[in-house]
Each structure stands twice: as C-alpha cells, then as structure tokens.
C-alpha cells in the first residue's frame, strides 16, 4: 500500500493512454460499463467512432482530445492534429464528408494569446482542407499548473451510406498502408529529445478523408476494414484488425515504406518504426481482387503516392501479427505501454 491507500494496480499510469494493450484493458474494465445496445456500431465495438442508423444512412460520430507536446512541431501543431485526428477517425468508418466539427479548449492561465491565435489559424486552415465546418465550441481556463498549456477536444459528425468497421478482414484479404510510416512520432521524438538529427523529420499530420474517398470510390464494397495507425503505430492497428476480424495477419517488413531519416532515427533509439505513431496514414483491408485498383487510386492522390500493399490476412493464428522479415518470420508483439506520451 502506498500513502494514498491505493495499490499500484489501482492507479492510472501513462501507459493507459498509449493506444496499446494497457489502454484497451482500462477501457474494457472501466468504460465499457457505459455501453448500451444501439442500432449500429456503439461504444461496445471499441471502434474509431460510433455509427447510428438514421433513415437509410449512417450517422458517424467521433471525439478526440489532444495534448500533444510540444504544441508546435515540425510539420504541424496541436490545431492541425485536432482537426486531422477527428476527420480521419470519421473517414476510417467510411464517412469521408464531415458535416460538422466542434472544438472545446481548456487553457492554462498565462497561455500566450498570439499562440492561441496561431492555433486558431491552423484549426481553420486544416478544417478548410478537410471540408469540415466548425459549428460550436467551448472554452475553459484553469489555474497555473492545473493543466499544461492547452488541451483541445474536437468532435466530428458525418453521414455515410456505407460504414466500414475495423473488424471486416477475412483470410485472403490484402492490406495497404497509404504511405511512409513513423513520420509523426519520430518528428515529435526528435524535437523533444533534441536528437540533433540533420535529416528532415517532419510530421505527416493531415486530414486524409479525400484520400480515403478515392480509395472507397475505387474499391467500393471490397474495402472491408480501415484503421488509422496513430498511437501504437501500424503494429497496434494490425493487432486490433487481426483480433476483431479473427484472422492472422502476415506483414512483410521489406514492403513497409519508411523514410531513410525515420529509419535512421529509429535505429539510433532502438525503436521499431511499426510502433511509431502516424497522423496522416491509414491501413486499409481490401479483398484481393480489388487491391491493385485501390492501390492505383491511392497512388494517384498526393497524400498516397507511397502507398504499398504490405500484408495479408490468413486463417491461421487468429489475432496474431506475423512479421515476415524477408529473412525469417516472427510474431510482432502488441505494443504494451507507452513509447512516448503526449504524441497527439
């Protein structure tokens, strides 16, 4: 027992917010209690968002809080992440035309107003890029030291005729990643640890609903599962898709697009790029017959030029992700704790 009378297991740790196994466990043990049956995809599905039937369409809703540190980083800022994260979560459920966004902000006493205006400009520009209008918001200020600078929350809603879940894979499906992996996490890490890397490490943070729209237009019903590999990286997304789809996934390491500078930084820190967060990428599961078509559509889009087919689903070993290194094979472990807190 510690001073506050709580055993270590009774306290929230940073790993509980990391997007890995620990976070999933916490949500299952604490928040799943809030789930109630809905006509569609509700809290119980633990998907990127919810989908509720409205007439012959689906209303997709998602919400996300952002605490990224530093708030301005190479390639983006907390404003750009707040819009992109929410727009992308909607897109991962097949809803690529956001109807509205909300924005709630919690500020620390003493926060710089010019910085706040800079973040506002970024929110505005990114929302314009995504075609997503802000419709309401909320502002709170807390005392010095009660919150670190700024916390942003955004909620998004959109209508779609077809919902794509993250559970739709079956054996034989192929998986596409829409571009180079690891950019966001390594840009933040390099900035935070002052790695002094000469290379150009920039976050990939971007709204990718336009890119996903192109993929869905090309693949139609053959696009069966989508996930944005944010916290927990590509490994986290694949583990979730494998578990929910009850398939094994074989990932071919040599086909994973990774920038040289990201790989170099990862090697230096002993980090696997597959565990590093992305903020402008998607992992898309496609029936094999349509994979090339979807790949071509992605590559024709400016945000999908480096898209690659990099994995496939198998019937064996459901729930596992097998890494084919080109030289051998091993299981890819599910990210457990935090690689880096406050990544988004």
């Amino acid at each position: 027992m510690e001073k506050d009378g709580l055993k270590p297991g009774q306290k929230i740790g940073l790993k509980h917010g990391s997007g890995g196994r620990a976070m999933r466990q916490l949500i299952e043990e604490v928040f799943l209690e809030l789930a109630s049956p809905v006509d569609g995809i509700g809290l119980g599905a633990l998907d990127d968002g919810a989908a509720l039937r409205v007439g012959d369409q689906w209303l997709v809703i998602t919400t996300d809080s952002h605490v990224v540190h530093p708030i301005f980083f190479p390639g983006g800022d907390i404003g750009r992440i707040s819009v992109s994260g929410t727009v992308n979560d909607l897109a991962m459920m097949g809803a690529t035309e956001p109807m509205a966004l909300t924005c709630a902000v919690i500020l620390e006493e003493g926060f710089s107003r010019p910085d706040l205006e800079r973040i506002r400009d970024s929110l505005k520009a990114t929302a314009l890029e995504a075609g997503a209008p802000f419709v309401t918001g909320d502002t709170k200020v807390m005392g010095r030291g009660e919150v670190d600078g700024i916390v942003l929350n955004t909620t998004g809603v959109a209508l779609t005729r077809r919902v794509v879940s993250d559970a739709g894979l079956r054996a034989g499906d192929l998986l596409i990643v829409t571009g180079q992996v690891g950019d966001h996490g390594m840009a933040i890490m390099a900035r935070r640890h002052d790695l002094g890397l000469s290379g150009d490490l920039r976050s990939d943070v971007a709204p990718i609903n336009g890119l996903i729209r192109a993929a869905l237009a090309a693949g139609g019903d053959d696009v069966v599962a989508m996930k944005d590999p944010t916290r927990g990286g590509v490994s986290g997304s694949l583990h979730e898709m494998a578990a929910k789809g009850k398939v094994g996934i074989v990932l071919e390491e040599q086909r994973v697009p990774v920038r040289d500078e990201v790989r170099a930084a990862c090697d230096m820190l002993g980090i696997d790029p597959l565990l590093v967060a992305n903020e402008g990428k998607a992992v898309i599961g496609v029936r094999a017959a349509s994979a090339e078509k979807v790949l071509a559509a992605l590559r024709a889009h400016p945000l999908g030029r480096d898209a690659a087919i990099f994995a496939h689903a198998i019937a064996e070993r459901p729930g596992s992700v097998i890494l084919d290194t080109g030289l051998g094979r091993r299981l890819l472990t599910e990210p457990e704790g935090e690689l880096l807190p406050r990544i988004c």
């Binding site: 071919e252 040289d260 084919d324 030289l327 051998g328 091993r330």
Partner: protein, 384 residues
C-alpha cells in the same frame, strides 16, 4: 547514410537467406537426426530473434542461446559486493543493465533508492571522471562484461588514475563457459557459434584446442542475419562431416591470432580464476580477476567489502520458480518458465535473463517469443 543502407542490405538479401536455409536442410537430411547447436552471445540472439531466423531453420535443427549475456551470468554474491560498497558510502559506477540485476537480496537500484551513490556510466573513462570529481570519496567501478569489454577496463587500469578509484571486476571469460556447457552430461550440444566481436580480440585459433578436446566444431560468426545463417550452414557442414574444427565465417573482421596488443593489455591486467556464474556452475577460469600487481586498484583487496548485511541466500517467492540457470545452460527455453511474460516482464523482471537487453528472456519477450512459424504461408499470391 545511403551508402550505409546499401552496405546493410547486402547482408539482408532474402534470396541469399533462402539459399542458405536450403543448404542447411540438405545437411540435416544427410545427418538424419536432430542436432542442437549453441551460440553464446546476446547480440547473436538479438539478430536471430529480430529477423525471425528460427522460422527458416530445418525442423531437425535446434539453435540455442547459451551463457551469452554477461549481465545475466554475474552472480548474486557479486552484486552483493557492489551493494555493500554502495551502502557503505562508496560511489559505485556501473553499466545501465547492471542496475536492476538482483543480488541475493537487493540490487544496485535498491541501494540507490535507499540513498546509495550509484552512477550509471557508459564507459570506464566516465567512472574515472566521477572519481576525479569526488577526490575525497571512494569511487568503485563495477566492471562487467566479457573479454572484449575487459580490454577497455584493462587499458584504463594501465594508465594514470586518481588514488580514490578502484575496480570491482565481475568480468567473465566466455571460452571457459563453453567448456562447462560442452562437458555437461545433460547437454547435447554438437557445435558452437562463437561471437565475432570477442574473436576480433582473441583470434579464432583460441578455439582450436577446445574443438579438438570436446569434439564440437566452432564457427566464428558476424552479426548480420546472413552472417549468422552462413555460419550455421558451415557448422552443420562440419557436424555432418564429423570434423571438430574451427572455421572463421567472419573473415572481414576476425583473424587467426586476433588483436595481439589488446590481448597483451588484457592478460597484463587480468588473470582467469575459477568463479561462479549465476545459475550455471563454478566455471574454472570463468572469471577475470585483477592480477596481484594491480591490488592497489582492486576494490576487493583495498576496501573492506562486507556483504553480511545485504545478503540473503534463501531465495524468496517468485525467484524460486525462475529457470534462468537452465535457460543459460541451454537446457530449457523461456517458454518452459511459468513466469515468462506473466509475472516476469521487462518492467518488473524476476530473473537476470529478463533484466538485461542481452538476456534470452528479454529478447524473446521483445520479439514475440519463438513459436513455430515454419508452416505459416509467406507472401500472398499475386503480389509482385
């Protein structure tokens, strides 16, 4: 950087890996029975696990990691000595992996939490800097590592040093442990992969008397995946042909006689002495102790190291279930341990092999264990 990557890719060519895997299979088919071989190096295990090489080995071939982690084989009573020194008020400097290594009762991390002056250093030179910065206090460098690392310690011992600096040597000598493993009645190891970086110093000729004596061939290997696969092919060649010889599969770095000036430095300062390796046994010539001429630098001779207050020989609780010893002897695998990945994880290690990044358990935990993935289908059909 582009050039480095090209260089690296040369040793990571899947087509070459497949050819080597097929050559191994031919050898094992010719031998016609199960064969176990052992490597003795954490860096080899890291590459084997990282690249999933066990999945391309013939099913009749068992590739086992032996006592290849210097942190893991550092014995509990040796840690007790460092803890006693720290508790007694001396500054204790050591490499990061040693911090959480359990003694019989406590680790240096425990001593640090209780206010002991424990410093993590990256080199022996940094430990000397600590001594220079605290001239009025005793500063002890707990020197761990195999013969390669011992050379660095020896080089510093030969130079000028502040009078308050001393060395607690827990250096270990790998060839001596290979002898113990090969003589163990329970072990059925038929050949060894020797660590390339150690052989850069010692030379590969060192293993010739060993191979002749034990009948087990030795192949010296580098650390890229193809280096390792090629070394295993050669080792199975030698086993098939019943030739207990030494082969240098790392000629771009290793020579027959090794680095003679480094050997001279090593043996000038250290002498091999019998010592207990954690979980294994008393290893004749297994410890590298400071020679009597260096008594003035030897913390054991110079300072009173009384471990009575920090020792507890009766292993408590979970430690009783830990099977690090049999794992390091190559007699068991982490999957045989009831604690592995459950009660024993890197964040809260029970045994030494989960503490160090070079320990078998830690490496297997990081890279998904070693399930049999030989029959899982590889590339998807229709992918160019």
């Amino acid at each position: 950087m582009a050039k480095d990557l090209t260089q690296e890719l040369k040793f990571r060519d899947p087509a070459k890996a497949r050819a080597l895997s097929e050559a191994m299979q031919r050898n094992l088919d010719a031998i016609g029975r199960e064969v176990s071989v052992m490597h003795v190096c954490g860096s080899h295990e890291q590459a084997i696990a990282r690249f999933g090489l066990r999945a391309v080995l013939p099913p009749q071939l068992k590739l086992i990691m032996g006592p290849g982690c210097p942190v893991c084989v550092t014995d509990g009573p040796e840690v007790d000595e460092a803890v006693a020194l720290a508790v007694g008020g001396a500054h204790v400097c050591t490499y990061g992996d040693m911090l959480r290594l359990p003694g019989t009762a406590r680790s240096l991390a425990d001593a640090q939490a209780d206010g002991g002056k424990v410093h993590v250093v990256y080199s022996v030179a940094q430990a000397v800097e600590v001594a220079t910065a605290h001239p009025a206090e005793q500063v002890v460098f707990m020197a761990s590592g195999f013969e390669t690392t011992a050379v660095a310690t020896a080089a510093v011992a030969l130079g000028p040093l502040p009078p308050n600096f001393s060395i607690l040597s827990v250096h270990k000598y790998v060839p001596a442990a290979m002898e113990v493993v090969s003589r163990s009645k329970e072990s059925n190891i038929e050949g060894f992969i020797a660590a390339g970086h150690a052989a850069i110093i010692t030379g590969y000729a060192l293993f010739e008397p060993f191979a002749a004596r034990t009948g087990a061939p030795v192949v010296v290997a580098g650390f890229e995946p193809l280096d390792i696969l090629a070394a295993i092919v050669k080792l199975t060649d030698l086993i098939r042909e019943r030739r207990p010889e030494v082969f240098n599969a790392y000629p771009r770095c290793v020579s027959r006689d090794g680095n003679l000036p480094a050997q001279k430095v090593l043996w000038k300062v250290f002498e091999p002495r019998p010592g207990k390796w954690r979980g294994i046994a008393e290893v004749p010539d297994g410890n590298l102790d400071l020679r009597p001429e260096f008594a003035h630098l030897d913390a054991r001779r110079r300072l009173s190291v009384d471990t009575a207050g920090v020792r507890d020989e009766a292993a408590a609780g979970l430690e009783r279930e830990c099977i690090c010893g049999p794992i390091m002897m190559g007699l068991a695998s982490p999957h045989d341990c009831p604690l592995f990945g459950k009660a024993c994880v890197p964040e809260a290690p029970v045994g030494a092999c989960m503490v160090s990044s070079e320990g078998t358990c830690r490496i297997w935990h990081t890279y998904g264990g070693a399930p049999d993935l030989r029959r899982v289908e590889g590339r998807a059909a229709g992918q160019g």
